[in-house]
């Protein structure tokens, strides 16, 4: 079933929408959650929660792209779960090392920053970047792909991917500083 039809079912509060959503996107959701969580039970629970969050949020939300919307939801749930498990930093399944991204993280206290504003700033920054480097950055830090997977996807060698990520992180930091975010 196409995404438009699934969204229609959701808006009609037809519960078959969940089955359709699962059938189409369960594997993708499992992949994204699996990039964050190590325990299979947690991944399953995360996917379940994502499906029901979609059910709860649509309507009123009207995502233009259901797939992307779903991916964001799944990832957020997975990260929340990870925080709950308090195992994030030593979990080897979390393919993105938190140390890797730490240089981009503003030093402001959490309550001074709204995530949506930060996400918006990051989006604006990414639009100014070269398409390839932008895609690589999003694959890494939104989808949670490993460097090896990204290299394979774009037919690059891993060192090139690492270099691109490195440079983009540096540029993002500069950008966010100009946007007014504090860094130590």
């Amino acid at each position: 079933m196409d995404d438009v039809s699934i969204i229609e079912l959701l808006q009609k509060r037809d519960q078959s929408a969940i089955n359709e959503l699962r059938q189409k996107y369960e594997r993708l959701c499992t992949y994204i959650a699996g990039n964050v969580l190590s325990q299979h039970e947690d991944v399953e629970e995360c996917v379940n929660s994502a499906c029901y969050e979609i059910w709860d949020s649509i309507p009123p939300a009207k995502p233009n792209d259901l797939k992307s919307y779903l991916c964001s939801v799944v990832r957020n749930i997975a990260i929340n779960r990870l925080e709950y498990n308090s195992a994030a930093k030593r979990d080897s399944r979390y393919t993105v090392s938190l140390d890797e991204i730490s240089e981009c993280v503003p030093a402001d206290a959490d309550d001074n920053i709204t995530l949506s504003e930060l996400a918006d700033a990051i989006s604006r920054f990414l639009r100014t970047q070269d398409e390839l480097q932008r895609r690589i950055f999003v694959r890494r830090y939104t989808y949670g792909d490993s460097v090896a997977e990204i290299a394979k996807r774009f037919s690059l060698n891993e060192s090139t991917v690492s270099t691109y990520l490195f440079r983009t992180r540096k540029k993002l930091k500069v950008f966010l500083k100009k946007e007014g975010y504090d860094y130590e």
Partner: protein
Amino acid sequence: MNNNNFMKAMSMIDEDLVKEADTPYTGKTEADDTKVSFSEDENSAVVSGVDVYHRNIWKKCLGIAASLVIVLGAVGGGIYHFNKMKDKPVVNEEIENDYASIYETVKENKDSYDMNEYVCNYSSAEISFVREANDYKDKLFEYLDSIEGVKKVEEYPNSFRCVLFTFSDDKSGKKYDFSLRENGYGFWQETNGDENAVMTPPNIESYYYGKDVFEKLFEEALNVADSDTVEAMNKVSQEEIENFVTNHLEKCDGKVVYYPWQSAEECEIKKYSITDKEALTDALMNFEWVKIKESEFEYYDWYDMGIRISENGYLMAVGNDPDPYGCYKLKYEDESEKLAAEIRSVLGYAVDSSDVSSEDIKNALQELTTGTLAQWRSGPDYVPQGRENYETTARYYTLNDGESFINEIASFEWVTCDSLEIDEKAYFYDHGMMNLKGAYNFGITENSFGGTGSFYPLGYIISTAGRFKLKNESDAEKFAAIFDKYLIMEKESEIAEKICSGMTNYDNLRGHFTFEKTYGDEDQIIDGYMSYDAKNEKLYMKGDGHLFYQEKENTIELIMNGHDNAAYRTVEKETGNIDRVGTYRYSSGSSIPLPDNYAYLCKSLEKSLTPRGFNEYNSAKQNNYQITESNGKIELYSHGATDGFYTRIILTERGQLISYENIGPSYKTIFKLDDYEFDSPDFTMEDVGQLYESMKADEEEQYKRQME
């Protein structure tokens, strides 16, 4: 903000960006076509250590650096795919100054180029600008010219770090760079503005300069770099270790050679096999490492297994041109024990076990017949400077019913065994010294025991036909029990057993003693009283007399402060001065004979009856003791070769020494205990611990005075 919240923000970016990343990319990504575009924002200084006002140059240099990475990728198949590289470079020729090489071209025109210096760590994708280095140009070329033995090469193996010098002339548009790698290889290339072009000869020339050259230039660069750059360059990422270890282990055949520290003999080197390469890789990745120079590698108990790794935490590649190159040490030294344990956990023995038939075992042991002599030996397997080690034990048996013995041995399931496994299982180390857990050595060959076979009750056999071990470890107990069944202890060994157990199988002893020894013209005599706490091995003997080489009358104290822990002190009666004092063990060597106390005398008797060496055993057998028991005492008597020479030992039924006489042509030892009492209920004795410390202090004082 915490990192997780930042990640959440990343998952909330615009949908179209998320969607874009999931759609097929149709842009070009091949190394020779990719245009790496930089932010057009002129204010973005993207790498730490960059001076903002040099951003234009930096932007172009970043391009060079990027193309450097891409070139490496193109030529080498990527830093992380080293197996695509050939193992050895093709060495062409020494450099000749007869054509305009890129190096020569740059050198000749160096004054027209601006030179910048960078350092790179590809394992963490770090490319750091160090400085504008125009002032350094002359010195660099002078140094490069001075290097002897630089060789031109066609290909080279990979490594993770490099020092990069860029040369650019804005007027002519000429651009070159020189990159020198951690493994000593370097190349000169002409880029001419197309940072993303893949260089091929003649626009690239590769040479081998030497690792020391890299180390020198790298160190010089880091000396002027900021601390972030230094840290970034020395950082060893998990990916680096993973790639390094994986690549080398994949190429190795699984054989391991272990070189113990200070091993000088071939026999000291041990051979194993790797049982699980993946587990070893995972284990090594879990440690933190730092980069070091090859010269800093410390050879201490190291293994060669495709990589060279030492138990004190050093890791490097092996071979002349390892691919990839690397040299590291543990960031935290106190993790070395854990590292050693991880290494050992993946080691197996080099020889695979195969089943051995019952017939083969019987054939291997066929020389064992009824009456074969067997020596049991256990304890320290080395001879100290003085006497035999206190703990070393030997006992002698004869084999009864050899055929049945062999049949029972052969009834177990056996497999072939690596000699190293027997060495490691049958011995243990105590304070660095090798100890045998215990073995029966059957038969004699070339004046030593074990000619027909050695049996280890743990479940191993060494025979002339091979080395075997029990297939099922659970059979070890039954295997050990066979020896009790078929071996008959010789009478001297039985007495030795009695004396040995007699040293501690009671509570206390006190009595009067005389102890006389004569050797040649020298003698010692002590007449006094002793108290012995047998269970705790605490002994106090005090008497009047003199030791060997003492001319004056002394008050002599001999003590034992626990197991094999003796001390003595003699005080001249006339002056009250300490003449001799010292702490010692049974096997301590000394230029002046150390006095035997009661416990050591008993031990020496036990060992005289059951000496470890073959020649000593033969000699002892000649004593041919007659053993009689009467009135609750055991007497051993051996008549000497000549009338008047004899040995007589008198023990209690339970093995305690009462009297010992050993009279020979030029020597005499007589010990007699009388007016004695065993296990007295009101037994008391001096504080031997305090006396020991006092004697120890006196010994140190005497030593200091002698040194002055």
